[in-house]
């Protein structure tokens, strides 16, 4: 083989090596960003999961919903306050929107009452925030509901519909 031909072959080989290297590098970068994005998505899902579970316990502890008698609180939700909350929420939307964040809906179902009954104290569903019929996973916990006028308790289910 002549020197010129050998030189051309060497240039060709080097060029091929560079092209293959650049292709491999681009593929690696694509894979890296894809894996990083997936990991961040997983972290976000985990944090949202923790946040929604935290919101369940926060709601049970908020003075807006917690039941009490003579200033002494108990481990229950006050049905009269739940019924009254919608009026307060209407004038403090930004405040509660910031507290509840990306939650799609928060409500309390009372299984023994008719869900379509909107009249206190026979209300079957107390809507706290957002809407119950949107998409998203549901986080729920049973709660004790106290009706102060009759001094009676009922079982309720506090539900949150999350973003995911």
């Amino acid at each position: 083989m002549s020197i010129n031909h050998r030189g051309q072959l060497e240039i060709g080989i080097t060029t091929m090596v560079l092209i293959v290297f650049i292709v491999l590098l681009l593929l690696s970068l694509i894979l890296y960003f894809k894996f990083t994005y997936l990991e961040l998505e997983e972290d976000r899902t985990t944090l949202l999961d923790q946040k929604y579970n935290s919101i369940l316990s926060v709601i049970i502890g908020l003075p807006e919903f917690r039941c009490s008698r003579g200033g002494i609180e108990s481990e229950c939700l006050d049905a009269a306050k739940l019924s009254a909350f919608s009026g307060v929420y209407a004038s403090n939307k930004e405040h509660y929107g910031n507290i509840f964040g990306t939650v799609n809906g928060i409500w309390v179902d009372v299984p023994v009452n008719d869900v379509n009954n909107l009249n206190y104290p026979d209300q079957g569903r107390f809507s706290v925030y957002g809407k119950a019929d949107l998409k998203g996973g549901i986080y729920s916990v049973p709660v004790s509901l106290y009706y102060p006028e009759s001094k009676k308790y009922k079982i309720g289910i506090l539900k949150i519909r999350g973003e995911l």
């Binding site: 090596v17 293959v20 290297f21 491999l24 590098l25 593929l27 690696s28 894979l31 890296y32 894996f35 990083t36 990991e39 961040l40 972290d43 944090l47 923790q50 946040k51 935290s54 919101i55 316990s57 926060v58 049970i60 502890g61 908020l62 003075p63 807006e64 917690r66 009490s68 008698r69 003579g70 200033g71 609180e73 006050d78 009269a80 306050k81 019924s83 009254a84 909350f85 009026g87 307060v88 004038s91 403090n92 405040h95 910031n98 507290i99 964040g101 206190y120 104290p121 102060p148 006028e149 009759s150 001094k151």
Partner: protein, 325 residues
């Protein structure tokens, strides 16, 4: 000659295959390490920590706690209060931060330690409005008489980075904000000026307190309730304290609004109650008209007003009606 060329071609092909496979393997190895260890200059970790701290603070605001946050290594938490928008924000390690929606935190502007103290106390006026969260890293030398009962976790040190004097002043019940003056002449045992002096008066009905905090520079700020007084211990300046206090007062208005609307439900549905007790129901919440205490300057919040609300509620309960709170 032909076979020699074929062998050469095969050798080149094998070289290429080996180079590509080796290259892919090396790049895969590098990507794996990069994904595992990249933290975008610490921002991702700081963001995750700030989200987790926010969740932690949410839990604290509904429970009575006293604990220590152990970060394992020195961490810096910066707290800021926006007076215009009435919101608090914290930042971790000067990197990432979050708005503290719905939480009321009293803390120095800068808390820097590997172990940060956290505690909560309930603010009642007279019904529970919120749990205040306190964070601190410094030692506080608290000089107070035995008649003032502070929670155990306040832990007055024998020596402290910050010296605070508590002075009971019964004349506060008769004085107004405009007449109170922060001129005082208290000195520590080392003849140094106190960082703060807290004047307080006690409610004979429930031992709750109200009074004024005098910051350095003789700037005064009113407080009502032991929880707010404890918050004054950890606030570094009048501006920060007033900002957080305003957030607390807004919260009081919201909670009072709930009770006011609950009263409407009770008046209609409480069949065991004498209908003439409608007026008593309304006496058991803060007035909401323009002359009501909550609409006036918060500095005029006094024991008599709170005691009347408490008495009205207790009367309702003792006569068989549902209590408002």
């Amino acid at each position: 000659m032909v076979s020699r060329l074929n062998k050469k071609g095969i050798a080149i092909t094998f070289d290429w295959m080996f180079s590509i496979v080796a290259g892919v393997l090396i790049f895969s190895f590098l990507i794996y390490f990069a994904v595992q260890n990249t933290d975008l200059f610490g921002k991702v970790t700081a963001r995750i920590v700030s989200e987790e701290l926010d969740i932690l603070f949410s839990g604290y605001e509904t429970a009575q706690v006293s604990t220590v946050l152990d970060f394992g290594r020195e961490a810096t938490l910066d707290f800021r209060c926006d007076e215009i928008n009435k919101r608090q924000k914290f930042m971790i390690n000067d990197r990432e931060g979050k708005n503290l929606w719905g939480k009321i935190i009293f803390a120095p502007k800068n808390v820097k330690s590997d172990k940060i103290n956290v505690a909560t106390a309930s603010w009642n006026a007279p019904f529970r409005v919120a749990n205040f969260v306190y964070l601190w890293d410094k030692r506080y030398l608290l000089d107070y008489d035995s008649d003032l009962e502070l929670p155990e976790w306040v832990n007055p040190s024998a020596s402290g980075d910050i010296n605070i004097k508590f002075a009971r002043d019964s004349s506060l019940a008769l004085s107004s904000s405009s007449s109170f003056d922060c001129s005082y002449n208290f000195r520590t045992s080392n003849n140094e000026e106190y960082d703060k002096v807290i004047y307080y008066d006690k409610n004979p009905s429930d031992d709750d307190v109200r009074g004024y905090v005098c910051f350095k520079g003789k700037e005064k700020s009113f407080f009502y309730g032991e929880a707010m007084m404890i918050g004054a211990i950890f606030s570094e300046s009048k501006i920060e304290f007033d900002c957080v206090k305003d957030i607390a007062v807004d919260r009081l208005k919201i909670v009072n609004d709930i009770y006011t609307k609950k009263v409407s439900n009770l008046i209609i549905s409480d069949r065991s109650c004498n209908p003439n007790f409608g007026a008593s129901y309304n006496n058991a919440v803060h007035e909401i008209d323009n002359n009501g205490m909550l609409e006036k300057d918060f500095d005029s919040f006094d024991f008599g007003y709170v005691n009347r609300i408490r008495s009205a509620n207790q009367n309702l309960i003792s006569t068989g009606c549902a209590g408002v709170y």
